[in-house]
């Protein structure tokens, strides 16, 4: 096993800004041959940006990369590959309709000019996969392979360039537990052969079980680099989620009334990029905010879609105001008094290329008072839109302004205004303040609390743990499509929730990983 005197890679003082965000702020990182180095952090902490810089996808604004003792400038992924840096992307970046062998040829220098030698390529795949002990059929179409096998192709593709450093970007997010185990074995054998591995993840358990060194990032900064032997999941959770100081919002004590939303043991199917939901049960009462904590992609949107009727439910029941809505059409559920502020409103809630009026009347566009027998009443619409604009202080030139011209905060105001303008009993909000500045965030939170005061039940699904701790009356933690814990937000601590979010703490209170 190669030893740890001089690092094979040093990244020093790396800064990278995107409009409005500092993705990497003076980041230092050292990786040695023969070690698995985990990069741990929440979504948006800057892990992927840092690795994208390393493999030539982005150029840093400042800072230096020292590779095997020499400062280098990595202009492109091709150059990174030539240096011996390979990356296994989260989404593999394979062509689904091509065979394994064809995918392996992509992006490699062509040995025969414009002609390809398929037989040679097939032999190469067989050779490489035999050598590494990762059997695969070179003739099979990539689209027909499971996620785990596709990842194997992506790994083989990277390894066939015999790199010295391999970056894995959240490699376990699409894998089954067995596949994860195999992957970790594979990674161990790679480092045993003297390679170095950078392992991007937000799962504490994985860090503890496979990495030797862990660097924790938050808001683009490195917080600490630790040996996993000398740390604990609890410490890592605190570092990753951190922020022991919680902003407090003036919140009246919860006067929860009758149960508004009851979700009983629902299961849904998954799909490409979608989580299966397993046995989800929730209850939200009038005047109560139930927070759903979890790292993005663990089933948050899927829960919201299941309740709003957008996602078919395989088994279980959903009741809203005592009415069984399990198999209802989304429109009927909406009309029952359910407001839904989806994740990524630019994509999922508004029509950027249509005007404010069009956006403001969505969901109210079918019936009275805005339409009679399917025909719009333009004066009613005009008054309605103007009222919403005034009430929610949406900053627009005129109702004919395109939604595209609004800032994120005002767009969210518009959505809030539209959703709150109907008779409501339940509000479902997914990441309602993501990407908003402090003022806009405050406004949105105040509006939600106001709705709570009015006796509405609110399901607040957020990747921002602080937000949940500030806003919710109770918090349920979602991991891998399951509710893994539920607690009162008054006497909960962020570390415990952080552990649950990372899948380390089980619902029964036992730790999955003994620290």
């Amino acid at each position: 096993m190669a030893n740890s005197e001089s690092p094979v890679l040093m990244m020093q003082g790396i800064c990278k800004r995107f409009p409005g965000v500092v993705a990497n702020d003076n980041v230092n990182l050292e990786v040695r041959a023969g070690e698995i180095h985990a990069l741990l952090g929440e979504n948006g902490a800057g892990k992927t940006t840092l690795m994208s810089i390393l493999c030539g996808l982005y150029q840093p604004d400042s800072g230096t990369i020292v590779w095997k003792g020499h400062p280098v400038r990595i202009a492109s992924p091709r150059q990174a590959a030539a240096l011996g840096i390979g990356m296994v992307h989260q989404d593999f970046k394979l062509v689904q309709r091509m065979t394994v062998a064809e995918n392996m040829m992509l992006g490699r220098p062509a040995p025969h000019g414009p002609f390809i030698d398929m037989r040679e390529s097939i032999l190469t795949v067989e050779h490489v996969s035999a050598e590494l002990g990762l059997p695969i059929d070179p003739r099979i179409q990539v689209g027909q392979l499971s996620a785990g096998m596709q990842q194997r192709v992506a790994i083989l593709k990277v390894l066939s360039g015999s790199p010295d450093l391999i970056i894995f970007d959240e490699p376990t997010s699409v894998l089954t537990p067995l596949e994860v185990e195999n992957l970790f074995k594979m990674m161990q054998s790679m480092v045993a052969n003297g390679k170095a591995i950078c392992f991007i993840t937000h799962k504490l358990e994985e860090v503890m079980s496979v990495a030797k060194v862990v660097t924790v990032l938050r808001d683009g900064k490195v917080l600490d680099t630790l040996e996993t032997k000398q740390t604990s999941p609890r410490e890592l959770a605190r570092l990753m989620v951190g922020r022991e100081v919680l902003f407090s919002v003036k919140k009246d004590p919860c006067k929860s009334g009758d149960s508004t939303l009851e979700v009983q043991h629902i299961n849904t199917a998954g799909g490409p990029g979608q989580r299966e939901l397993h046995d989800i049960s929730l209850q939200v009462c009038q005047g109560e905010i139930l927070g759903i904590a979890g790292i993005s992609g663990n089933g948050q949107n899927e829960i919201a879609e299941a309740i709003t009727g957008l996602r078919p439910i395989l088994s279980g029941h959903i009741k809203i105001d005592g009415v069984e809505t399990t198999k209802w059409h989304p429109r009927k559920i909406t009309e029952l008094g359910v407001a839904y502020i989806p994740d990524k409103i630019r994509q999922n809630a508004v029509f950027l290329d249509l005007d404010i009026t069009h956006n403001a009347i969505a969901k109210s566009h079918r019936g009275a008072p805005l339409a009679t027998r399917g025909i719009f009443r333009m004066d009613a619409i005009k008054n309605h839109v103007q009222k919403l604009i005034n009430e929610y202080q949406v900053h627009v030139a005129s109702p004919k302004t395109l939604a595209r011209q609004l800032s994120g905060g005002h767009l969210q105001r518009l959505v809030l205004a539209r959703e709150s303008s109907r008779e409501l009993s339940l509000i479902i909000a997914v990441n309602p303040t993501a990407g908003l500045d402090v003022g806009a965030t405050e406004y949105v939170r105040a509006q939600l609390l106001n709705q709570r005061k009015l006796g509405r039940a609110i399901l607040l699904i957020s990747a921002d743990l602080d937000e949940l701790l500030t806003m919710s009356d109770r918090i349920a933690v979602l991991f891998s499509g399951r509710i893994v814990g539920s607690l009162d937000s008054a006497n909960s601590n962020p570390e415990e929730i952080g552990l649950m979010m990372g899948g380390t703490l089980r619902p029964d209170g036992k730790k999955a990983y003994a620290a």
């Binding site: 989304p330 994509q347 508004v350 290329d353 719009f376 395109l402």
Partner: protein, 378 residues
């Protein structure tokens, strides 16, 4: 299956050369500035097609000059022939009317996020529906018969377009390919019928065509001594109706929502698959009216070349018209002028009649180039 449909939609978006997927402009603007940009945009919407047309005419003028003909004299003839006389205007309207019907259909489909390339086939099916209503219904007065003929024309096209919509919505088929293929089926169905079962059996006419429709099924002439017929008046009513439907009804609202952002439409509870079928049926129905218009207003019978490529041309007409009802009306008149004007240039100045296609092509190319240029900038 749902996944397939989504793939299809993203593919359509790529085909659609519209700027809506371009960069997101961050930050809100000062109200005054926002107003200014709204105003500029309005000006741009009107100005853009005019610039394309101007470029097309300049290039066409150069081409005409290269053949040794004075382009100014030729263009004088062009406008004299198409707009300078009662008969010229009438002929321009005769050409513009079917184009406008079909282009209106293309615009409706586009606004709902579907590409209907099947106007040609829908015109044939509409013509067939109108002919059947014209020939096989028992005798009745014009005020009853003519509306039925037009209605059956609409129905013929609507069924043909709606079928394509169902294929897309239920099976995830790409509507561009489906509508193109269905064009051939429609054309051959009509060919078969007019050479066989529906052929004029009098034995006097060798061409494959039906007998003439009775007078009660015909659109009356509106400018005496010309071919201009009441189809144009029907058109104006239909333009107003389509505008009203798209911008003043809940269903129109849902179609436009689904076209502007299918994800958001789904999240606000709109059944995007349904809107696809509805949009395709209406789109096809409007093209069907173009066919009915040709049968009932121009040819007075059904032949196997009832359309003269109006269906394909209507896509360009719709794009030039900015995909809105009023714009489509103006742009179809322009295409009518080009058609009639070019014929007149040929008669008077010996400019080859192919200049029609060259000018049409140039307008489209100029528009695409401008769009590309804007995309580069954006």
């Amino acid at each position: 299956m749902r996944h397939d449909v989504e793939n299809n939609e993203s593919m359509v978006k790529q085909v659609a050369s519209d700027p809506r997927s371009d960069s997101v402009r961050p930050g809100s603007k000062h109200p005054k500035e926002a107003f200014k940009s709204v105003f500029l945009r309005a000006l741009e919407t009107i100005g853009r097609p005019l610039v394309s047309i101007l470029i097309a005419f300049i290039v066409a003028g150069i081409l005409i000059a290269l053949t040794g003909i004075n382009p100014f004299a030729a263009f004088f003839q062009f406008f004299q022939g198409s707009l300078g006389s009662k008969n010229g205007i009438a002929e321009t309207l005769v050409r513009a009317t079917p184009l406008a019907f079909a282009a209106l259909g293309v615009a409706v489909a586009y606004r709902a996020g579907v590409w209907n390339i099947g106007a040609e086939g829908q015109i044939f099916m509409g013509a067939l529906g109108a002919t059947m209503a014209g020939l096989y219904l028992p005798p009745m007065p014009l005020l009853v018969h003519l509306p039925l003929v037009l209605l059956c024309g609409f129905a013929g096209g609507a069924i043909w377009g709606g079928l394509a919509g169902i294929f897309k919505a239920r099976f995830g088929a790409n509507e561009i390919i489906v509508t193109i293929m269905m064009n051939y089926i429609a054309i051959f169905i009509v060919s078969f019928l007019v050479t066989g079962p529906m052929k004029d059996a009098s034995g006097m006419i060798p061409q494959p065509q039906t007998v003439e429709l009775p007078a009660s099924a015909l659109l009356p002439v509106i400018i005496s001594g010309t071919r201009a017929h009441a189809g144009t008046i029907v058109l104006i009513g239909v333009v107003a109706f389509v505008w009203f439907f798209m911008y003043r009804t809940s269903t129109g609202y849902e179609l436009r929502s689904a076209g502007a952002n299918p994800d958001a439409a789904r999240h606000i509870g709109i059944n995007v698959l349904n809107t696809v079928v509805i949009a395709m049926a209406i789109s096809g129905g409007l093209a069907g009216l173009a066919g009915a218009n040709e049968v009932s207003g121009v040819q007075h019978l059904l032949t196997q070349d009832i359309s003269s490529n109006y269906g394909y041309l209507s896509i360009a007409v719709a794009l030039l018209g900015g995909l809105n009802p009023l714009g489509v009306l103006l742009s179809s008149i322009f295409f009518g002028v080009v058609y009639v004007g070019s014929e007149s240039m040929q008669r008077a100045m010996n400019v080859p009649v192919e200049m029609v296609y060259i000018i049409q092509g140039l307008v489209i190319v100029a528009m695409l180039l401008r769009q590309l240029g804007q995309r580069r900038k954006g």
